[in-house]
């Protein structure tokens, strides 16, 4: 297990209390799980994805990650529509462990960017982890 000061937590992302991150890219956004989450779960063996076109509200479950240790639900940081899923994870779920930021899970079209204000900055997320 990593110590908190060993975690890779990039600036410029917004984080959730359930350890997802979101990065705005134009009028779309990509979503994944944090280094803390992948480290907690250990070797990820299965990523359950939504369908393209599915719509979720902020905080709603959009899939699950299964590791050798546990199944953990993943929640969408922003209300929006799924416009792409990361197909590479179907064959190689361990990519999430290798680099949880390069290997995003879904790409979404956010419905309301003002929801970003309710998400955590990297400093706020670190406070949560240290809490």
């Amino acid at each position: 297990m990593k110590e908190i000061n060993e975690l890779n937590l990039p600036d410029g992302l917004r984080y959730t209390r359930d350890h997802e991150w979101v990065k705005i890219m134009g009028d779309a956004a990509i979503v994944g799980i944090s280094d803390y989450a992948q480290d907690q779960l250990g070797d990820i063996v299965y990523v359950e994805m939504p369908e393209v076109g599915d719509e979720f509200k902020q905080g709603e479950e959009f899939g699950t990650l299964e590791s050798v240790k546990a199944v953990s639900e993943t929640y969408l940081p922003l209300t929006g529509e799924i416009i792409e899923i990361n197909e590479a994870l179907a064959d190689a779920p361990e990519l999430v462990n290798k680099d949880p930021y390069e290997n995003w899970i879904v790409r979404i079209r956010p419905a309301d960017l003002s929801e970003l204000d309710s998400l955590l900055t990297v400093d706020e997320y670190l406070d949560l982890l240290n809490g």
Binding site: D18, Q40, Y46, E66, A70, V71
Partner: protein, 227 residues
Amino acid sequence: MPLRQKASLLDLGLMDYRRAYGLQLDLVEKRRTGRLDTDIFLLTEHPAVFTLGRRGGQENLAVSREFLDRQGIALIPIERGGDITYHGRGQLVVYPIILLKSAGLSVTEYIFRLEEVMIRLSRDYGVAAVRDARNHGVWSGDRKLGSVGIAIRHGVAFHGLAINVTTCLEHFGWINPCGLTGVRMTSLARELGREMALEEAKQRMKGHLAEIFERDFSLMGLEPLLE
């Protein structure tokens, strides 16, 4: 002086899998929203049932569904980790509904402790159970004695552990347990080669849970939870 976190212990006795599952979901929600302010450990035993993990595992069912229907045994898909497994009489099941963060537990540490509880219980009876890096759970030699499978919802863990005390092992022969081919299941009674009292094992289990999870248990009934 060691201060122990408070927790509730609820002995459900023999309870149908689906009913216990519904209760778990309800308690997870209550724990998450704070309506339950302590963790709660459920102890139970299920009538015969097969459950499938998130990844399925129906290919690891060695008998037909019609055959199961004739035997009156349900096959239930469920969101815990792992593959197909069996629950039945004589198997002691523990479902801790536990807020991992406030318990100060990482997922790794939590799984380790669930396994430790089963190892200590086995040791009480002189069975030397061990962990195995290839697969979670506890083993006696190359035979699997107990299993671990958890799910996490908003930081609250549920599902848990199942250890075969006096379980009829024939039903395990109808599946490749946990998706592992060629794995033989065993029970404490089988390892000891004698009859055992499940009730005694259950009482010992309570003691180990309190010790390993450093909890001060208060016993509770089901009624206050069914408002």
